[in-house]
């Protein structure tokens, strides 16, 4: 974890008191507040404008909460199929999270706790898929979905994402950090692999599993290119592509930007909430990745 490891002298607390004496800490606080506000500004403005009518939006500097209240959200959900899109996004993300975590745990169990011939080669075979992001294989993948008859289905949205080199890598790293004395105890007591997985490994990997779930959930929810290619039937589409339909449906006349902002906020909310609630395991998992 540490970038440098050659320090075993005891940490001295002096530097803390010195940095507290520095007078320009105030500047740092102001800088942080400005940065945070600047990063959040587009979102905060979008939330305000999502409550406005189209004519209120067209008064550019009108920053008051609009007269629409939450009715733009209602309209988007009921009249622009957003309920369907959201449901599809949820189902897709949850299938990918559960599937990926499940089969990656199994693969890591085999890699770390089984006497495996060619273990290194198997691991490399899995790891090398990091070189193959969707754009590298998008045309044949699209054709494959058509050949399998999966176009426009949840299988097409989730199948290609179910396995992951990164998840296997992270679980493998974590398993290898579990003390071998514990593994030895488990072995001595003669428990089978299933008991070992569910009674020992999973309870000891809760933080890591939660972190991989958060990363996978956000990653799946935010997919855009693949759903755009794999699904052309609106009733099977996910919300990220759904907001592009919303933007596209209003090219003529006055664009209902209030409505579009409401749709965008809806599409952002689920991954944002997950991040806010589960940021601790996410940060810990990333720390392992960069170890």
């Amino acid at each position: 974890m540490a970038t440098t490891t050659d320090t075993d002298s005891t940490p001295v607390d002096e530097s803390r008191t010195i940095s507290q004496r520095l007078p320009d800490n105030l500047g740092m606080h102001v800088g942080i507040i400005l940065s945070v506000v600047a990063m959040a500004a587009p979102l905060l403005l979008a939330i305000v404008m999502s409550t406005q009518t189209t004519s209120e939006v067209y008064e550019v500097t009108n920053l008051g909460l609009g007269s629409q209240g939450l009715s733009n959200y209602q309209t988007v959900l009921s009249e622009y199929r957003f309920t369907t899109y959201l449901l599809n996004s949820f189902v897709m993300s949850i299938i990918i999270v559960v599937g990926k975590v499940g089969i990656s745990l199994l693969a890591a169990l085999a890699l770390v706790y089984y006497e495996l011939p060619y273990e290194r080669a198997v691991f490399m075979f899995i790891l090398l898929t990091l070189l193959l992001p969707v754009p590298v294989r998008i045309v044949p993948l699209f054709q494959l979905m058509a050949d399998l008859g999966w176009t426009n289905t949840m299988l097409a949205l989730t199948g290609p994402y179910i396995a992951s080199a990164t998840a296997v890598f992270l679980f493998r790293q974590h398993f290898m950090s579990i003390p071998s004395s514990l593994v030895e105890t488990a072995r001595m007591s003669g428990i089978g692999p299933a008991t070992f997985l569910f009674k020992v490994l999973i309870p000891m990997s809760k933080g890591m599993i939660a972190g991989v779930c958060v990363i996978t959930y956000i990653y799946s929810w935010n997919q855009f290119l693949w759903p755009l290619v794999a699904v052309n039937d609106k009733s099977s589409q996910v919300v990220q592509v759904g907001i592009s339909y919303l933007q596209g449906s209003a090219q003529a006349g006055l664009t209902p930007w209030g409505l579009i902002m409401a749709g965008a906020c809806i599409a952002l909310l689920p991954p944002l909430i997950v991040l806010i609630v589960l940021h601790r395991p996410l940060l810990q998992t990333f720390a392992v990745q960069r170890k």
Binding site: T3, I32, A110, L116, V139, A163, E184, M261, A264
Partner: protein, 297 residues
């Protein structure tokens, strides 16, 4: 972990445990990738039903096409701007958070949340807020500066707007890793510099940047991959590659060649070029930091 402590030795069970992962990787990653290489050597018609072997002529066509060469140059420039912009801004923000000891508090969420921001949402928010006529950002920008924002028609402006959105979305990811790296520096290493009364900015690039350089290299690679591969929604929803090719990134051109013009052979050749690019980048990262996995899929 020592080899001899492995508790299980059934090869059949091990194979069964690995099977789901291997099957999915072979079916949806290895097989289509090999197909990409094969298709790149064919000319295709009728949605790929009619294939004619043409050797490397797709690659020759790309190398001599001014549109593709433009896309290549635009993508490289875009990656340069996005990588540098993201690193500088997130380094400053991370350093401030670290300096006032907020690096491990819950307030960190206020700085890393763009990690969860869907690129499509980022694109649509700024489509509106930077709209040449209706955008509130446009309004104040034009009020406070002598500029006129006209990115629907100006190539350089469209490029800049796209880069800003790409950077904004990528800040969270970078801050996560930078703050973690800064927090991991042993205080004993930075003490002497602090005693010398060195200014903060100088401390940052003289002391901290070298100490976290492995993380910075990792982020350079990840940000480059991001700017080549994950920026499709931004182009698709904001500029459609225009005006006159100024934002026609490789990933967007690939999409159009494949799914608007159904030119599967040519699009596959473009995929192969992108593969070479990822391979080079991952190799650099492996060399520089010795064996870490990326995040992406």
């Amino acid at each position: 972990m020592a080899e001899q402590t492995k508790p299980f030795d059934s090869k059949l069970q091990a194979a069964a445990l690995l099977l789901p992962t291997i099957v999915v990787l072979v079916a949806f990653l290895y097989y289509p990738s090999l197909e990409t290489f094969r298709l790149s050597l064919f000319e295709s018609a009728f949605l790929g039903q009619d294939l004619r072997w043409t050797g490397i002529s797709n690659f020759v066509e790309l190398a001599t096409s001014s549109t593709y060469r433009n896309s290549f140059v635009v993508s490289v420039l875009f990656a340069g701007v996005v990588v540098i912009g993201t690193l500088v801004l997130s380094l400053l923000i991370s350093y401030m958070l670290f300096d006032v000891d907020l690096g491990s508090s819950s307030y960190l969420v206020a700085a890393i949340w763009p990690y969860a921001l869907p690129p499509a949402v980022a694109a649509i928010l700024l489509n509106f807020l930077l709209h040449p006529n209706l955008g509130i950002f446009t309004h104040y920008l034009e009020l406070l500066t002598p500029w006129t924002l006209d990115w629907f028609n100006s190539g350089p402006q469209a490029f800049a707007v796209l880069a800003i959105v790409a950077i904004w979305k990528q800040l969270g990811y970078n801050i996560i890793f930078m703050v973690a790296a800064l927090n991991n520096i042993p205080e004993t290493l930075t003490e002497s510099a602090q005693l010398d009364g060195v200014g903060r900015l100088k401390m940052l690039y003289k002391v901290y940047v070298p100490l976290i350089s492995p993380t910075l290299i990792f982020l350079v690679v990840m940000n480059t991959i991001y700017s080549f591969f994950s920026t499709f929604p931004l182009v698709d929803l904001m500029t459609s590659g225009g005006p006159s090719g100024a934002t026609n990134l490789l990933i967007f051109k690939l999409y159009r060649d494949a799914f608007e013009f159904s030119n599967y052979g040519l699009a596959s050749a473009e995929s192969v070029i992108l593969f070479v690019l990822v391979a080079i980048l991952m190799y650099i990262q492996l060399r520089a930091t010795e064996g870490h996995a990326q995040y992406g899929g």
